[in-house]
């Protein structure tokens, strides 16, 4: 029998949407282009830390769609990237050490370039030529550099969820 749903179930989704939609606008115009994939960092955190969160796949879909809209990418590019992240960030239940921040950051550091590379390759295929690599690399650096902040936010939300006894690691 499933437990009753509470509003806490929506927190990761809301956070992913908020970060994807809002962060680009909190930076000066010249720097906005590096912000949109930060929503992917939220997906990574919750997917890697909350094993039985069925809603994660829908968060991934929605965040990917928003990424497509905000970055004016063909619909499907961001969605496939977010789904790929969903798969790469799946929880490894046998590895308890993944729960530490350092391990989580390390895992994010090798998973995130795969995602950014996937977006780069799809966009280049769609366009028929390779894009300059400078901005995607900046985007990835911004993702890694800001991950501790995203981690702190997500961790606080996660604690709220744990306190509500809805999830357990």
């Amino acid at each position: 029998m499933e437990k009753r749903k509470t509003w806490h179930d929506l927190l990761p989704a809301l956070l992913a949407i908020l970060v994807t939609l809002v962060t680009p606008y909190l930076l000066p115009m010249g720097l906005r282009s590096i912000a949109p994939p930060l929503g992917l960092s939220v997906i990574f955190y919750f997917r890697s830390r909350v094993p039985f969160m069925n809603v994660a796949v829908w968060i991934a879909l929605l965040s990917g769609l928003l990424l497509d809209v905000i970055q004016a990418m063909p619909v499907g590019v961001g969605i496939s990237a977010a789904l790929l992240l969903y798969w790469l960030a799946r929880p490894r239940e046998e590895r308890d050490e993944d729960r530490s921040f350092a391990r989580n950051l390390l895992r994010f550091t090798w998973v995130s370039p795969i995602i950014m590379g996937w977006i780069y390759l799809l966009m280049s295929m769609v366009q028929g030529q390779f894009f300059p690599m400078t901005l995607p690399i900046f985007q990835w650096l911004a993702m890694v550099a800001s991950y501790p902040l995203i981690y702190a936010f997500c961790h606080a939300i996660h604690q709220m969820m744990l306190q509500s006894k809805r999830y357990s690691l």
Binding site: L26, V69, V75, I79
Partner: protein, 274 residues
């Protein structure tokens, strides 16, 4: 670790079903990319509508940052002006003289045109629009404007500011419009060089510079030369400043756009009159 609240059999089935769902969704996303590549009308319209709906909200969220940035810019300008007041006064005097001279030349030009019965160049109508912000991303260089089809914006209008050409309108919803910037990888503009008068195509490269294509083999183009729209193809009006040649390497010229698009507040949209 606790399992969810189902039997192990049901859990295995759920696990299998979620894997299948994932594969289907992933395949669907790739199909969407392919569909968008070959037939993009319906998906593109939906995306444009979503972008148009989000634009005012995004602008509202960005307003504190924009206000702060504008305030800092204003402070920097004030300090700069205070330091250079003498030079500015001198420059102002020179500009006044040039304005007077330009007015004389304009009058002379008009009377000579009448004498020669010259067919006038394409006239343009224009409207001014506020910039809502950029559509952020390394793969697209676009701007959103707070004016749309209700204000008369249509695709392929030239978008300019006081420094020169910004780009051209790509699409318009009733209240917003998207502008393809010159630096976007899909941007192509027919241009003519100011001094050597050579025709070429300024191509966006997805970074800060434009590349000049189709220059003649024996090109006489020089670094520092101004580049203007040629009006070829009647897509954009002729004579709008596009940028300045910054480097020439191996017969390939690079151009710095005249407009810094990260600091735009308002732009003008030009449409050739029928």
């Amino acid at each position: 670790m606790s399992k969810p609240y189902t039997s192990s059999h049901a859990y295995a089935w759920q696990d299998w079903a979620s894997k299948l769902l994932f594969i289907l969704l992933f395949a669907a996303s790739l199909v969407m990319v392919a569909v968008g590549r070959f037939e993009n009308t319906s998906l593109q319209r939906a995306q444009e509508a979503a972008t148009g709906l989000w634009a005012p909200i995004g602008h509202f969220i960005a307003s504190p940052v924009q206000t702060t940035t504008a305030g800092l810019d204003q402070l920097r300008d004030t300090l700069h002006n205070a330091r250079n007041a003498g030079t500015l006064a001198q420059e102002n005097e020179i500009l006044r003289q040039w304005k007077q001279r330009a007015e004389q030349l304009q009058a002379e030009n008009e009377s000579l045109r009448k004498l020669l019965k010259v067919v006038p160049a394409t006239q343009t109508t224009d409207l001014t629009a506020r910039v809502l912000g950029s559509i952020a991303g390394p793969y697209s260089h676009q701007l959103q404007l707070a004016a749309g089809s209700e204000e008369g914006v249509v695709p392929s209008m030239a978008v300019v500011d006081s420094d020169g050409l910004v780009g051209r309108t790509l699409s318009a919803t009733p209240r917003t419009a998207e502008v393809l910037l010159l630096t976007d990888i899909n941007s192509r503009v027919a241009v003519v060089t100011g001094k050597s008068h050579e025709h070429a195509v300024a191509k966006g490269q997805g970074d800060t510079l434009l590349a000049l294509d189709y220059l003649p083999q024996d090109t006489k183009i020089e670094v520092g030369e101004k580049i203007y729209t040629s009006g070829d193809g009647a897509l954009l009006p002729a004579g709008i400043l596009v940028g300045t040649v910054s480097e020439i390497t191996g017969g390939q010229a690079k151009v710095i756009p005249a407009v810094d698009t990260s600091r735009l507040d308002f732009v003008r949209l030009l449409l050739a009159k029928d």
